[in-house]
Symmetry: C2
Subunit: 583 residues, 2 copies
């Protein structure tokens, strides 16, 4: 099933939700002219449709292959990645000092969306590299930046994040990998890295001629827990005197995981310092690893939220085309007219509009967060704080609805949806990882009711709720949900840690739907205004109004039903001992 980039929709959301024009009014983003934005949105759509999409099902069936000497990607992936690098797509928002174009992250976000909708697994390589770039920009020395950034920015080398170990998943502080300073000889000043890391996405592959691993490890005598962790840059190949990656650095991929989905990306078990020494450079200060990790994570979290859009958009396109083609049964309200395409049956239409409305809601939320992040870059402190509030919402809710939308896509296909050849099942399998990695959605919710609830004396979170309320005038359901969000926010602030956590996931869903509902309402009004002015494509604008109405009339009220869960407290959860639960 081919993929068509939703360029009109992407452009509309950039205009009315990101308000890209406001960004371009700043000197720093002056290059983001309307023509440039068009060229990026349309150009990446072509690359995604032409090069990435055809590999999606192919790579699901023909997986990356592991051998003791490395991982070989399926046929065609190398050429597609080359097209990405040569097109300069990796460098759009990269630092200009290191070969980047310095455009807004909002535009890089569109690039990732289009590529990932075409091929979610493959595009993971592009989601993790920015984390490495951000960490180096924030904490690298000038020499480190000069050495590593140009090739990371261009995408010629990719970056990885090495956090997890078998005994250290969500609890990063439990990690045991070590880093020992070399005090003399030619490698003096570097660290010898030892340990194994798991779940390393694109930790090994044959798409680039080097791989830049960012590895969390402990120096000798470091304190226990997260306070004792430092960050190291450990390349697959060290650079020779000419700066070429030719020196084996003892980094090995021990195996790749056999996963439920996302077969287009190798998930590696990485070993450092087991087959020869692995040398790494410390990035930032000793014990500054967690701070640097959050820099990497924040970039990655928004882009994982973006994956929720990706899988939803692809599943929705897939289902819409099937439903428009598949003729089955007459409409119950008009039996005499004979069999119709199933898109004409009311419940199938309801499912399709739900898929479309959820996808557009997720896109609005993630794009909005990206736009706030860009404003933060420009020095707008309120926008920076709002980005912090939005990150858990924009990571968790879109990835949750990604699973729902992919599941609806299977349902639309009926029995054929359960047969792998149809391709609908791949979306369902691929979608399921996004609520887990880069901090599970439960951890996002804990972040929301923990640090984000209280940061800035609670102002930034309350300001978001206030904006939603102000924007909800005349929209009864959204007004009711915004009021409920305000109530629950007050409740949370007075509650114990356990009570907050017990309601955190429900609260996050309410906040995310309220925010997305507000942004859908904004688009609804913009579409009406454009229609009235006779501007834009009427088919697109009418469809936008229909999906916005579906979101506000049906999806927003469901979120209200979660208020009871949000404020139920923890006591009942602990009325039993663990041993009573596990029969």
């Amino acid at each position: 099933m081919s993929y068509r980039p939703p360029v009109t929709e992407q452009r509309f959301v950039l205009d009315h939700v990101v308000r890209i024009g406001e960004l371009a009014a700043h000197e720093r983003f002056a290059d983001a002219t309307p023509d440039m934005v068009d060229a990026i949105v349309e150009g990446i759509g072509q690359l995604a449709e032409g090069e990435y999409a055809p590999l999606n099902r192919f790579g699901d069936v023909n997986n990356p292959k592991w051998s003791p000497t490395g991982v070989t990607m399926p046929e065609g992936f190398k050429a597609a990645y080359k097209a990405f690098v040569e097109g300069g797509w990796g460098s759009i928002d990269g630092p200009t000092a290191y070969g980047g174009q310095g455009l807004p992250f909002s535009l890089a976000n569109v690039i990732i969306e289009s590529l990932g909708t075409a091929n979610m697994g493959f595009t993971l390589i592009n989601i993790l590299t920015p984390g490495a770039i951000h960490a180096l920009m924030a904490y690298g020395s000038e020499e480190q930046k000069a050495t590593w950034l140009p090739k990371l920015v261009s995408g010629e080398w990719n970056g990885t994040m090495n956090l997890t170990e078998p005994g250290a998943g969500s609890d990063v502080g439990a990690l045991r990998s070590t880093a020992e300073l070399v005090t003399d000889g030619p490698m003096a000043g570097q660290y010898k890295i030892r340990g194994q890391k798991i779940y390393i996405t694109f930790g090994e592959h044959d798409l680039t001629d080097n791989i830049v691993h960012l590895v969390l490890a402990r120096t000798p005598g470091a304190p226990e827990g997260t306070r004792g962790i430092s960050l190291f840059l450990v390349p697959k190949y060290r650079l020779d005197a000419d700066g070429r990656p030719t020196i084996d650095n003892g980094v090995r991929c021990r195996s790749i995981e056999h996963k439920l989905g996302l077969h287009n990306s190798p998930t590696c078990v990485m070993a450092y310092g087991e087959d020869g020494d692995s040398y790494g450079e410390m990035i930032g200060s000793e014990f500054g690893g967690m701070r640097a990790m959050f820099v990497m994570m924040n970039a990655a979290r928004l882009l994982v939220g973006n994956q929720g859009i990706q899988i939803s958009e692809r599943a929705t396109q897939h289902a819409l085309r099937y439903a428009a083609d598949r003729v089955q049964s007459a409409r119950a309200s008009d039996p005499a007219a004979g069999p119709v395409a199933i898109i004409e049956h009311p419940d199938v239409r309801r499912m399709l509009l739900r898929m479309k409305a959820l996808t557009e809601g997720a896109r609005a939320l993630v794009y909005y967060a990206a736009g706030q992040s860009d404003r933060g870059t420009l020095g707008d402190d309120a926008a920076r704080a709002r980005t912090d509030i939005l990150i858990p919402l924009a990571k968790a809710w879109p990835t949750d609805i990604g699973c729902e939308v992919a599941s609806l896509g299977i349902q639309i296909h009926g029995g054929m949806g359960f047969v792998e050849e149809t391709g609908a099942a791949q979306h369902y399998r691929d979608a399921r990882i996004a609520p887990i990695y880069e901090g599970t959605n439960g951890i996002q919710a804990a972040d929301l009711v923990g640090r984000k609830l209280s940061m800035g004396n609670g102002e930034p979170l309350s300001a978001l709720v206030a904006d939603i309320r102000a924007g909800a005038q005349g929209e009864g359901n959204l007004l009711a949900l915004a009021a409920a969000c305000a109530d629950v926010t007050d409740w949370m602030r007075a509650a114990s840690v356990d009570d907050r956590l017990a309601g955190s996931v429900d609260y996050l869903a309410m906040m995310a739907v309220a925010t997305a509902g507000w942004l859908m309402r904004i688009q609804h009004d913009a579409a009406k205004a454009a229609l009235a002015a006779g501007e834009g494509d009427p088919d697109f604008l009418n469809a936008k109004i229909a999906t916005a109405r579906f979101f506000l009339d049906r999806i927003v009220p469901e979120a209200l039903g979660r208020k009871a869960g949000a404020t139920a407290g923890a006591a009942d959860l602990y009325s039993l001992k663990a041993s009573q639960l596990v029969a």
Copy 2:
């Protein structure tokens, strides 16, 4: 991951929801003594745990194998199925005239639950055979019954349902297979069957020495649509003079599907009359096929609803044990105590209790429907009507929550949940078919707002809502949901066909959660009474109270959030043409 049959829970629900004692008070079910019930619940639990459970992951990896001469099941399946037949488990509720034990269907339902929780795919063979038995009992001639029923009842032969063709899925009436009467020669009176059927579960395998296919087909000149369909019994092997299945009947399996899940069951493309003649006997009257199909379907729909319990129970057990073992992070409310098993973290507990509460709600709903079906068998017309109302609820909602619970099971496992070796992903893949087959959940919802809403002048449906309201006294959330169900029922009755269908899935969810909530409230009170009387296992009873509270306090209010969707109507769904939706 091993499976432990929840015998205390099953027994409790039989006592308080099915009220099995009332059934045993009738002469027909007098054999269902407490000792007999205990023996069945415990005995099937042992078979399920000992023989079926160990094959679940094995068969997921080592799939049934197709060759031109037939399908070979994975190692061990034949022995396990033999143990099932020899234990007499297939015949529990079979007709006594044909070797059955004539016990309540409620008990057969427990048998299917335990086997299917151990191995959902494998147990499909036991879910479809009862449909063939019911169709033969209802419409077969005495000779047909005498010939085919004893081996079907014992399970020595299995039954299949052959409805679907490539162009005839949900629209059964579009089928094209033909049946031509043989008018002379030794086969006179039989029909030559020709055509291909798809998605035939256990249509071919090596577990039994014959397979009894029930096939829908058209006689020459039959009217178009469902009015022209007749039902035929077409064996894999015809019987020789000694009654042994030795004569090849030209029935061929052309291929088996490559499915998302349920790899423990072969899903076959069947060809009739292509390699030699396939002879069949008509069951019932010409053009009586649809009526007979509904007899098969109703039995199967409850047992597919049962699969929702199966997958939920298995995923919940799996997740509970993992969460009790996996140590990760200290509790946020008590960092000084150090890392704890993740079952102690509030949001993990919330997920686990949600899984358990949904599973128990689904079990209550399906068991209740089975008990009402048994009362119908005893001549209770109100119970028979209630069974009809309950079937769409008990098929759709448990299979929907089966997917949700399996997904939560993955989430509990974190990254390991996405790795196939863990086994959590299998539940997620297996679960996804149940909302589709035996009538998609959308078709169940259409049945609810169509025939079921108006049957008996609407009395049976209104009586169920009234019973829920009466049982909800003092339970605010449930009372509110019951009132909303009553409102929506009134709205539906005044609405157009399209408006009803547009809200049908939301309405079904509300009705199912209200019914399950009512049954959870009944169990909550029974558990409190037992505790007060000092009867039963306090750990079990306290856990029941906790899950009932979770259901009533958190899950019931969510269903209220679907009222807006149930009554939103169809107009907005049709504000766009199909061509505007499919960009």
